[in-house]
C-alpha cells in the first residue's frame, strides 16, 4: 500500500491533501458532500480580530483557466470562529490550520494568541499577502523586513507552528522566503493569488467591485511551481504548495517542485469532491511514476548533484 502520510511541524497528515483557505469556508458546506475525515487537513477561512464584512459585490469573475476574487476577508472574527467553527471541525479526524489576517501587527498578534485558547488547532497559516494589509504604504507581503517583523510577532504570540503564506506578487520570492524563515517561520505556504483585473465591456468598469482581485486556478500553476522550485533550493523549512491544482498529476508536480503537502482552492468550486477524488487517485499516480510514498517524491524534480 502506498504511504500517503506527510509529517510537517504540528501536522501529522494521513495524506498531503487539504482544501486551501477561503475556498472551503469552515468545512460545513462540504461536509454535506463527504466525510471531512478523509482529508489530510483543512485550512480554515481567514480569521481577523473582529468581524469583517468584506468587499462589495461582485466579488468573483471567471478568467481563462482561472478566476479572480476579492472577498475582502469576510469572517465572523476570531472569537466567534473559535467558539462555533473550530468545535465543529474538531469532530473530524483531521489537522486544523487556522489562517490569520489583520490590518495591523497588533491585530495579527491578537488573532494569533486567541488560537492559544483552543487545543483543537494544530498550526497557523499567516496570511501576509492580503492586499489591504499595509503599513506605511508597503504591504507586509512584498517587503521582506516587514514580513519578518510580523512573523516574529506572531511566533512570539502563538504556541503553534506558523506557516507563512507568501504572495507571488513580488520581484524576489527567495528573499521573502528567507526573511520569514530567519524570523522563525516553521513552514511556508505558497502561493497566494496573483493580483489581476478584468474589465466588463458593457459597463466599461472592472467586474470586481474592488477593481482588482486575486487570480487563482490552473492559469497560475506555472508561477506556483516556479516559485516553489526556486524557494525549495534556499530554505530548510517545509512548503505547503498550492495554486491551480486540479488533478493528482498536478499534486505530484508540486511534490517534485518541493512541496511537502498541497492545498486545493479554486478546484473545489467546480467539483466539490475534488479533494477526495485526488486522494483516491494519488496512489496510482505516485506508483506510475515510480514513487513508493508521498515523502519519496518531495523535491525530486530538482537535479540531484
Amino acid at each position: 500500500m502506498m504511504d500517503l502520510t506527510a509529517q510537517l511541524p504540528g501536522l501529522n497528515l494521513k495524506n498531503p491533501i487539504m482544501p486551501a483557505s477561503g475556498c472551503f469556508g469552515f468545512g460545513r458546506e462540504y461536509s454535506e458532500f463527504y466525510d471531512l475525515s478523509k482529508l489530510g487537513a483543512i485550512m480554515m477561512k481567514a480569521a481577523t480580530g473582529e468581524e469583517r464584512l468584506g468587499n462589495k459585490t461582485p466579488r468573483v469573475a471567471e478568467t481563462p483557466s482561472g478566476m479572480l476574487n476579492a472577498i475582502g476577508l469576510q469572517n465572523p472574527g476570531v472569537d466567534k470562529i473559535i467558539e462555533t467553527e473550530v468545535p465543529f471541525l474538531a469532530n473530524y479526524d483531521i489537522s486544523l490550520i487556522a489562517n490569520i489576517a489583520g490590518s495591523t501587527i497588533k491585530e495579527y498578534e491578537k488573532v494569533a494568541s486567541a488560537f492559544n485558547e483552543t487545543d483543537k488547532v494544530h498550526a497557523l497559516e499567516l496570511n501576509i499577502s492580503c492586499p489591504n494589509v499595509k503599513k506605511g504604504g508597503i504591504q507586509f507581503g512584498t517587503d521582506p523586513s516587514m514580513a519578518a517583523e510580523v512573523t516574529k510577532v506572531v511566533k512570539k504570540a502563538s504556541n503553534l507552528p506558523v506557516y507563512v503564506k507568501l504572495s507571488p506578487n513580488v520581484s524576489d520570492i527567495i528573499a521573502m522566503a528567507k526573511a520569514v524563515e530567519e524570523a522563525g517561520a516553521d513552514g511556508l505556504s505558497m502561493i497566494n493569488t496573483l493580483t489581476g483585473m478584468q474589465i466588463h465591456l458593457p459597463s466599461k468598469k472592472p467586474i470586481i467591485a474592488n477593481k482588482t482581485g486575486g487570480l487563482s486556478g490552473a492559469a497560475i500553476k506555472p508561477v506556483a511551481i516556479r516559485m516553489i522550485y526556486e524557494v525549495k533550493q534556499h530554505v530548510n523549512i517545509p512548503i505547503i504548495g498550492m495554486g491551480g491544482i486540479n488533478t493528482a498529476d498536478d499534486v505530484l508536480e508540486f511534490l517534485l517542485a518541493g512541496a511537502s503537502a498541497v492545498a486545493i482552492g479554486t478546484a473545489n468550486f467546480r467539483n466539490p469532491f475534488i479533494c477526495t477524488e485526488i486522494i483516491e487517485a494519488l496512489p496510482e499516480v505516485l506508483s506510475k511514476y515510480g514513487f513508493q510514498s508521498v515523502q519519496d517524491a518531495v523535491g525530486k524534480g530538482h537535479d540531484i548533484e
Binding site: 472551503f24 469556508g25 468584506g54 459585490t57 466579488r59 468573483v60 478566476m67 479554486t266 468550486f269 466539490p272
Partner: protein, 251 residues
C-alpha cells in the same frame, strides 16, 4: 440536500431570441427541487459553474426544465449541447419560495426577462393550491417574449415590453396599478427592476429572487453575499437565497 448529479439532456429548444429551453432527466432533482431553487451547472472548459434556475419539474417523467439566455461563453456552449449528452450540476441549490399554508389566496408574479423561469414552476405549484394569480412578465422587445401561454394556464397574464413592440409598453412597474388586487408578490428579474418593485410595493408582503456572480454555489466562498437589514450582516444568495423576503435584504 445538495448533490452532484449527471443529467441527460432530453430536449433542447430555442424558444425566443437567444433563449434556450432545456429538458433534463434527473430523478434526484425532480423529486427534491422546490420552486425558486437553482442548479449550479458545469460547463466543461470553464473554471466556474453557471447558476441557472429550475423553471419546471415533472415528477412523472423525472425531468426538470431550465431556460437560459445565451450571454457569454458558458451559456453559448451549453446551448450547443444536443439531446443525449450529459450535463453535470450541483442541485437543488439554495432555498426556494416559501409555499406554506400562509400563502394568501391572491398573489402577483412579476418576472423580468430571464428572471421569468423560476416563477413558472412557482406558479404551477401555487395553482395546485388554488391560489389566484396575476402575472406581469417584462421583456425587452417582442422577440424576447416567451412562456406567455404557459403562464396564462394558471394566471391572468400581462406582457410588457420596454419598447412596446408587444403587450404594454415600458417597465413592469408601468402596469402594477392597472391590475387586480393581490396580497403578496413574488418577483425575479434584473436588479433595477427589483429595486423599483420593492420600493413601489413596500407596503405589500413580497419575496424576491436575486442574482449575483458565484464561486462555489454552496455557501463556502462568500462570493455571493447581500447586505441584510439586521446587525449590518450579510446573507449568502447561493445558500440563504436566492429568494429573500423583500424587506430582508438591502438592494
Amino acid at each position: 440536500m445538495l448533490k452532484k448529479v449527471d443529467m441527460q439532456i432530453r430536449k433542447t429548444n430555442v424558444i425566443a431570441l437567444d433563449t434556450v429551453e432545456m429538458v433534463l432527466k434527473s430523478t434526484y432533482i425532480s423529486q427534491t427541487a422546490v420552486p425558486g431553487q437553482f442548479l449550479h451547472v458545469n460547463v466543461p472548459g470553464h473554471t466556474l459553474r453557471r447558476p441557472i434556475s429550475i423553471a419546471d419539474v415533472n415528477r412523472e417523467t423525472e425531468t426538470i426544465t431550465i431556460l437560459f439566455k445565451t450571454i457569454g461563453s458558458g451559456t453559448k456552449k451549453l446551448a450547443s449541447y444536443l439531446p443525449g449528452m450529459k450535463v453535470n450540476a450541483l442541485g437543488p441549490c439554495g432555498k426556494g419560495f416559501p409555499i406554506d399554508n400562509e400563502v394568501p389566496s391572491n398573489v402577483l408574479l412579476i418576472g423580468g426577462g430571464i428572471g421569468v423561469p423560476p416563477l413558472y414552476y412557482l406558479g404551477k405549484t401555487l395553482a395546485k393550491k388554488n391560489i389566484n394569480m396575476i402575472s406581469v412578465l417584462g421583456f425587452q422587445t417582442a422577440i424576447n417574449v416567451f412562456y406567455e401561454n404557459a403562464f396564462s394556464q394558471f394566471s391572468d397574464t400581462h406582457i410588457v415590453t420596454n419598447d412596446g413592440t408587444y403587450g404594454e409598453a415600458g417597465f413592469v412597474t408601468a402596469v402594477l396599478d392597472k391590475i387586480g388586487d393581490y396580497d403578496r408578490y413574488y418577483a425575479c428579474g434584473p436588479l433595477p427592476m427589483l429595486q423599483a418593485i420593492t420600493k413601489e410595493l413596500d407596503h405589500k408582503s413580497g419575496y424576491i429572487s436575486l442574482e449575483e456572480r458565484m464561486g462555489c454555489g454552496v455557501g463556502a466562498c462568500f462570493a455571493c453575499v447581500i447586505p441584510t437589514d439586521d446587525h449590518g450582516g450579510y446573507k449568502k444568495i447561493c445558500r440563504d437565497g436566492p429568494v429573500f423576503k423583500a424587506q430582508e435584504v438591502c438592494l
